[in-house]
């Protein structure tokens, strides 16, 4: 193909262009022509098409996501808000923390190992770009039924990919979720969250300013990886029949990423850059247009300078390549020598590919010929915005009417015991050690708590013991029954998971995984979910600092259950005081919060193959009261575990298994209801006998309902007058499931 230059484009307005194949709609193509006042060159078309894809432009979600800004609570902690690579919050002592979740769903379905690995690589670079050292990874994952053949293909590859990448770059993977549901068959969700730490003065932004400053590309060479990946993989429903436009799969090179991290941090320490951006989706198209657009606009790039792995790549392909482990920095000329010296020390390829200009256009040349000449804002920010129609699905009412509370329930000792064993051994509730053991949780030496624990706790200062706690949560079934309430339940659960460690929740991130936005029913779920999160964030006084939207997670007409994964970050002034759900010695077990008859969408109903009804109520004010209580009384609480999936039965058994003890508890009222209800706003605590009256009194003062369940000890779980199960038996049931399914 001959080189298409701006000159040629101006003189050949009628040339047919493959805009449709690149995923653009006709009106979008016409808008590009209007912006440029001519037809785009093929390179410009490539840039617009990737940057205007759903994945990069948020064209279907933008109108809703605005609420996070509009309803934002006033927060003194917020240092950098939505819009940058990741939000940043102040955690005190001069430290700032950044965190964000990303999805890599479709790539992980196609090639589980590399898809998941590059997902981790991408989010880690987002965090690095803010000037932070990446200190922790969490991986919220969703798969089809655990026994489905495709799950056997996808899950082991995804886990090995996350471990393979995270372990090699030396960032501990310390938490996440593994959830199975039939709606994820063919649409696994691979989300990855990364946390980074820096000093306030080290915060970096993605901005190209200062005419004459140099644009430097550093990291891996550019190859044909994932060309068109953005538009093909992220914007359209994946269907097996239709071949992808370019089959190249992105392959991660964690070693290169590790040296890139160290090299970048050394560069940041010497303050050598005025702006920096990682190359993720849409590669150079994205990095150059976003950097220029956030600055004064002017930038000139000599594309032929880009170091290539495959010499045959065309300029269009170079612009679209999603080769991993690359970064783009804006460096003042006076600092370039030192910059290149540090790169050389780390054996990182670094190339000056252009400079910031005083103009307002992004100009890209190829061996001296002008092939791109665009106002960068039109590429990076002024993409199309859709106000897609949305409507509550017709059958939503029927779904909500079919409540799980009406299902026949187990009664009597034998049936209840069987129900408990079934619950604790179900793939969703089963022990996930087979998975978490594949992750290095110790690297960096600051892990105070990692799975199994409600939230991961990471020390960030070795002298003061300042630390952070992070958790992610979402029950997609609740969101299917009521996306508004389901989303607030996810928010409440993540908040509670952070709070039970004794940390103070500080900020929210999210990864909104949904089906096709072109389906009004899905769009309704999405709109409700965003509205719920914005309202909830405002009510709790926590800023949403960033996030990610992943649409088109569906097979044919059938979408996944809506899965807005919520991540919460909290700060803990002294990690030595962090509470876990492991205790030693005999303790009194106390339930905080109220148990209502709420079974719909829960694990027990799921085990019955039932999905219907109305999800548990949520009361965010009560969550705040609980969090404050745990924080205030943390010196008296030996262990704490939040109640969520599987209710009291699961929380109690998990706490006892961790603590290697049995317990004798009594339940007043319907034992089934109390054990299996998934009412929100509840926490199980273990307290030593001498402190229990004090703690219960304090809880009453705070208006928290308490139930004294009984005492730990013995080798069985005794529920007085109801049943007795040996802890060994429970342990075996809990631990057997996942290895039996996935050991090769």
């Amino acid at each position: 193909m001959a080189l298409d230059t701006v000159g040629i484009a101006t003189n050949s307005p009628d040339t047919q262009q493959p805009w449709r194949e690149l995923g653009l709609k006709e009106d979008e193509y016409q808008r590009i022509r209007e912006i440029l006042n001519r037809r785009p060159t093929s390179s410009e078309l490539a840039m617009y098409s990737v940057m205007w894809s759903e994945h990069c432009s948020y064209k279907s979600s933008k109108v809703h996501l605005r609420q996070f800004g509009e309803k934002a609570p006033k927060s003194d902690a917020l240092l950098v808000g939505i819009g940058e690579n990741a939000g940043v919050v102040d955690v005190g002592q001069g430290y700032a923390v950044t965190f964000k979740v990303e999805s890599h769903n479709h790539p992980s379905f196609i090639e589980p190992y590399q898809g998941a690995a590059t997902g981790v690589g991408g989010i880690v670079r987002d965090i690095l770009t803010m000037g932070a050292r990446p200190v922790a990874i969490l991986d919220p994952l969703r798969f089809g039924p655990a026994d489905a053949p495709d799950t056997k293909r996808v899950l082991p590859g995804v886990i090995a990919g996350i471990g393979g990448y995270g372990n090699c770059i030396g960032v501990p993977t310390v938490g996440g979720e593994v959830i199975f549901d039939k709606s994820y068959l063919g649409n696994p969700l691979v989300n990855a969250l990364c946390v980074g730490v820096m000093k306030h003065e080290d915060i970096k932004l993605a901005k190209a300013s200062g005419a004459g400053n140099l644009v430097v590309l550093f990291g891996a060479k550019t190859g044909g990886d994932g060309i068109g990946g953005v538009s093909v993989l992220a914007s359209e429903t994946f269907s097996e029949k239709k071949p992808t436009k370019r089959p190249a799969v992105q392959v991660g090179d964690p070693f290169t990423e590790k040296v890139l991290i160290e090299c970048s941090l050394e560069i940041f320490k010497e303050d050598l850059v005025v702006g920096i951006q990682d190359l993720g989706g849409a590669g150079l198209s994205c990095a150059t247009s976003e950097l220029a657009s956030a600055g004064t606009g002017g930038m000139r790039i000599e594309l032929d300078r880009v170091p290539l792995r495959d010499a045959n790549l065309s300029p269009e392909e170079i612009l679209m390549s999603e080769s991993q482990e690359r970064m783009c920095a804006i460096v003042p000329p006076a600092k370039i020598d030192r910059f290149l010296e540090i790169c050389k020390k780390w054996d990182v390829v670094a190339t000056v590919i252009g400079e910031v200009t005083s103009g307002e256009h992004l100009e890209i040349t190829w061996h001296g010929e002008l092939i791109v000449d665009v106002p960068p804002r039109t590429v990076a920010h002024d993409g199309p915005v859709y106000n897609r129609p949305y409507k509550r699905p017709e059958n939503q009412g029927d779904l909500c009417a079919d409540a799980a509370e009406n299902l026949p329930r187990p009664t009597g000792e034998a049936e209840l015991a069987e129900a408990i064993l079934k619950l604790i051994s179900s793939p969703n509730m089963a022990d996930k050690t087979w998975i978490t053991e594949q992750y290095d949780k110790y690297v960096q030496g600051n892990t105070v708590a990692a799975g199994p624990s409600d939230a991961a706790v990471i020390r960030i200062d070795e002298e003061s013991f300042l630390g952070v706690a992070v958790a992610t949560d979402c029950n997609g079934r609740f969101c299917k029954l009521d996306p508004y309430q389901g989303t607030q339940l996810a928010l409440a659960e993540a908040f509670r998971n952070v709070a039970v460690t004794g940390a103070k929740p500080l900020a929210i991130t999210n990864c909104l995984n949904f089906g096709s936005p072109e389906d009004p029913g899905v769009m309704w779920q999405f709109a409700e979910s965003v509205r719920a999160l914005a309202d909830g964030a405002l009510e709790m006084g926590l800023p949403v600092t960033g996030g990610n939207v992943s649409f088109y997670n569906q097979t044919g007409d059938v979408a996944i259950v809506p899965t807005p994964v919520i991540g919460i970050l909290g700060v803990i002034d002294d990690v030595r005081k962090a509470i876990s759900y492991r205790f030693t010695g005999e303790k009194e077990l106390i339930l905080l919060g109220e148990t209502l008859e709420e079974l719909s969408g829960g694990e027990w109903a799921d085990g019955c193959g039932h999905l219907g009804g109305i999800p548990p109520r949520v009361n965010l004010q009560k969550e705040i009261v609980l969090a404050d209580f745990i924080h205030a009384q943390r010196d008296y609480i030996a262990a704490a575990h939040d109640l969520s999936d599987g209710g009291l039965a699961v929380a109690l058994i998990e706490m006892l298994l961790q603590s290697k003890t049995g317990a004798t508890v009594s339940i007043h009222g319907d034992p089934f209801m109390h054990l299996f209800s998934e009412s929100s706003g509840r926490i199980l605590i273990a307290v030593s006998s001498e402190d229990s009256n004090y703690v219960v009194g304090k809880a009453a003062d705070a208006g928290i309902t308490t139930t004294r369940l009984g005492k730990s000890g013995g080798e069985n779980l005794e529920i007085s007058g109801v049943l007795s199960l040996s802890m060994l038996h429970l342990q075996e049931a809990n631990q057997r499931t996942i290895p039996a399914l996935f050991n090769a």
């Binding site: 090995a160 471990g163 393979g164 372990n167 090699c168 030396g170 090179d253 964690p254 070693f255 290169t256 590790k258 040296v259 160290e262 020390k345 780390w346 054996d347 978490t436 053991e437 594949q438 992750y439 290095d440 949780k441 110790y442 690297v443 960096q444 030496g445 600051n446 892990t447 105070v448 020390r459 070795e462 990690v575 030595r576 090769a744």
Partner: protein, 221 residues
């Protein structure tokens, strides 16, 4: 006492090793893979990680680095060297220790709290233990299965060169459940699990790993 901690590109646990030296009362000195100067250290630690990405074979490329060209002859002359995990692999690739580390039998990377039994307390790095002492420290590796031929194994056992063995289920398929070995002189030690991650019960399963570092630092004060 100055103890060198080597950083190769891809090394991950260098900070942890340096922290462990500090906790043990020593002075950590960082050594860069591209240098040849050992900076007058009295001992060297090759930390865990993925030197050069562990591409080709774990430790294979690191072995040829400039710093190793100084460490190998120094170790042959008695300089105490401790290789942890990837460092153990580098020591085997350098032929400072016999045998090799291969893929875990389970074929997965494994990170768990592992009980080991200290077998040899005569080496430069294990004098602060008592023989038969059992400690729990993190194990984290994908290629930690210690392999060697029968003759080497027999020699290792006869010469009391096994430093530590896994207790309970052998996590990676190592011959004779070997977790760590020393050379005949006792100055070079390789260990698969990570004592530097067990120097403080807050961030590790125990603080029992510290004795590897105090063994060297205290003996030479």
């Amino acid at each position: 006492m100055r103890v060198g901690v080597v950083t190769f590109p891809g090394t991950l646990d260098d900070h942890d090793a340096a922290r462990a030296v500090k906790y043990a009362g020593g002075e950590p000195v960082s050594l860069w893979h591209g240098d040849t100067d050992l900076k007058d250290v009295a001992g060297v630690i090759l930390p865990g990680g993925f030197s050069y990405g562990d591409y080709l074979r774990c430790g294979a490329i690191a072995r040829f680095s400039p710093i190793m060209s100084s460490i190998i002859p120094a170790a042959e002359n008695g300089l105490p060297v401790l290789g942890i995990c990837n460092g153990f692999q580098v020591l085997c690739e350098s032929h400072l220790l016999p045998g090799a580390l291969t893929r875990n039998v389970g074929l997965h990377f494994l990170c768990r709290d592992q009980e080991i039994e200290i077998v040899n307390t005569q080496s430069a790095w294990s004098g602060d233990f008592t023989r038969g002492q059992r400690i729990t420290i993190p194990l984290k590796n994908g290629e930690g299965s210690y392999q060697c031929d029968d003759k080497t194994l027999q020699e290792l056992e006869e010469n009391n060169q096994v430093i530590a063995r896994y207790v309970g289920i052998n996590p990676n398929g190592s011959r004779n459940a070997i977790a760590g070995i020393t050379n005949k002189q006792g100055n070079v030690v390789g260990i698969m699990p990570h004592p530097e991650h067990a120097i403080d019960a807050l961030t590790g399963p125990s603080a029992a790993g510290l004795a590897f570092f105090t063994s060297l630092v205290r003996a030479r004060v």
